[in-house]
Amino acid sequence: MKLHKFYLSTLLLFSSFNLEAVDILGTIYYERIQPQHIGTASTLNYSNITKERAKEVLVEAIDSVGNQVAKTFTDKNGAYQLQNISSYSNVKIRISAKMFKSNRWDVKVIDNNDKDALYVIEGGFANTGSKDSIRDLTASASNKGSAPFAILDSVYQAMNKMINVDSSINFPTLKVNWSVDNITTGTYYDGEENIVLQGDQKGDSDEYDGHIVIHEWGHFFERKFSRADNIGGSHGSNEHLDIRVAFGEGFGNALSAIVTDNPLYFDTFGNNGWNMNIEDANHQTPGWFSEASIQRILYDLYDNKDENHDHLSLGFKPLYETLVGGQKNTSAFTSIFSFITELKKISPSNTDKIDKIVANENISTIENSYGSDRISNVKESALPLYQELTINQTLTNICTVNSYGVYNKLGNHKYIRFTVEQDNTYPIFIEQSDGRDSDPDFILFKVSPFEEISVRDSDSAGVESISLALTSGDYLLDIRDSSYQKKSCFNVSIGDVSEVDNSNNNSNENSNNNGGNHTSTVGFTLPKNIFLAILLLFIVLFVPLYFIRKELKV
């Protein structure tokens, strides 16, 4: 009898375990519309839709009243296992376009046009029964459910490339804003924690353009882990660009080829689109100002394909270490000059091979981060890139030009280097020397650590000035003519110069003081002429008194 009871209770115990919990496991997929390339045209091929695995995404079991009863993340093969779910209960599986791993990554794809809603796909409610079950779910391309997962997969690829060379990397929060209503937004990284992607289903949409997603992610990486001095604006491969733009955009393009190990970069617009080969494109306007040259150099440094000029296969690690090390801390603006200079420091045995790859782009040997000693194969006034200024002296004939276009093109900006030896307040004065039709503006940076100190963008014709308290150290001044005249030349001075005109300081003041060390002292400065000074003091002191007295009398 006792034995019988024992068997019975054991059986009941086991059966009750079975009643209490089951597992749901399976694989999560998404559909990816593949591109089709014919010559330099690329389109989406809607008859070539592949089923891909959704890696590291959030999976939840949701009960009939909307509660989460179990959660997990898929693995790198898209597989998941939700454990200990009540048997004989109705649950559905919800997959979120979200990746989260503590001290590793936090990425989600949201609808920026609809309350920042997180994109999810769901299966239907089904009874768990008494046994473990397999539920495979696929995000479909037909209802756009797959788009957020395609985007996330590209981000995953990019992050994995970094993890492979730095196992301790911890990515900051990233939100990818994608929507079918992103019709006029454009595709860009906002400099903080947002990537915005076009989703116009009748025009330009980027959800399946993996290289584009990775390019934008590259800007995020550059900003968060390296340094991006890129000033933005529209840009193309065969342009003469500002060196900061050329590097930033060339890097983004190269990274997309490096991450995917596919040098064919493409951008589809439904039934239209284009592509370019990051490695083999024609050298139309090679040079240090060309994003196409930058992307070819970076890709050649990385890849293991030998060519006449390329007998180097560094892989990604030295490039990564340069980006997060020397390039981040360079005292120059971020450009191919700073990158190659820093790369040579960590890979000195490969200097000759690096120079050969660089030379293939019509760039003479890079000796320093400032691109000194360039061979002048560019239009007037583009060189030298940097000019050195001594405190208390005037640098003359600093000319901006629009020979190659406006805003972010070569020659639109001039860079001035100077060193402050003593903490003090210094007037910075820029005055057009060839007329008054320009609108000079400037941004001042301190270089170690690199930080923006002040932005001056008043509308004053032909002149810009400010007085700033500066601590000792090296500085970079980025000067531009915001009216983009064909050519404007300026005299630039920093320090004790009599011609400082503070009358412009009241207009559109926009001084950024980062940290307590830099105090803007824009405002009232007595003229050096003693008569004028006394007259000014008289007006300031006695005129108000006159009115006060008059008021009191009334």
Binding site: T40, A41, I62, G66, N67, Q68, I93, R94, I95, K115, A117, L118, Y119, V120, I121, G123, D132, S133, R135, D136, L137, T138, A139, S140, N143, K144, G145, D181, I183, T184, G186, T187, Y188, Y189, G191, D200, K202, G203, H215, G233, S234, H235, G236, S237, N238, E239, G252, N253, Y265, D267, F269, N272, W274, M276, Q284, E291, Y404, V406, Y407, N408
Partner: protein, 172 residues
């Protein structure tokens, strides 16, 4: 004729007052790689069946080449002025902007779009850049019917739900 003018003038003036100018530009914005072209526009928000004047200015940032523009309009948007579906502009070093005007109308309220697919032939490669100019008619609500359903998750987060394709089987 005079009476007609007297009656029509205030009406046209009121209609003119109703037209809300809308502007936009891509100048100075971060953008993905593509044709080196920026765009700015001025449109008027009008009522249904009224005419909206659209002025589109393209700003190539290169100094030469042929700028090719393919125009497409939302189906519900009627083009009143007759300009071709493909426009070409020869870029010259002394000219920075290339403008064209068009007039459109729609019979229903909505937010419509004129889409431009641009490229620069000759020496700039195959790159393209797409732009869209919004045209607001009446209340101007978006016409897109999204395939997703908005919900709140158990944690209160907004979620946009699509139906998945699902297969279920029991583990044997």
């Amino acid at each position: 004729m005079k009476l007609k003018s007297v009656l029509l003038t205030p009406l046209l003036m009121i209609m003119g007052l109703n037209a809300q100018p809308m502007t936009g530009t891509t100048l100075g914005h971060y953008s993905k790689p593509g044709a080196p072209i920026d765009m700015k526009y001025v449109t008027n928000s009008v009522e249904k069946n009224e005419t909206s004047d659209i002025n589109i200015t393209l700003i190539p940032t290169v100094r030469n080449g042929t700028m090719v523009v393919q125009l497409t309009l939302d189906d519900e948007l009627h083009q009143i002025t007759s300009i071709g579906k493909e426009l070409k502009f020869e870029i010259t070093p002394n000219k920075r902007t290339y403008s064209f005007n068009m007039q459109v109308s729609a019979q229903k309220d909505g937010l419509y779009y004129i889409r431009l697919l641009t490229r620069i032939d000759k020496g700039i490669g195959s790159k393209m850049r797409a732009f869209a100019v919004p045209v607001t008619i009446g209340k101007g609500k978006k016409l897109n019917v999204k395939p997703t359903v908005m919900m709140k998750s158990h944690s209160g987060e907004n979620i946009s739900v699509s139906r998945a394709v699902e297969t279920i089987r029991v583990v044997k």
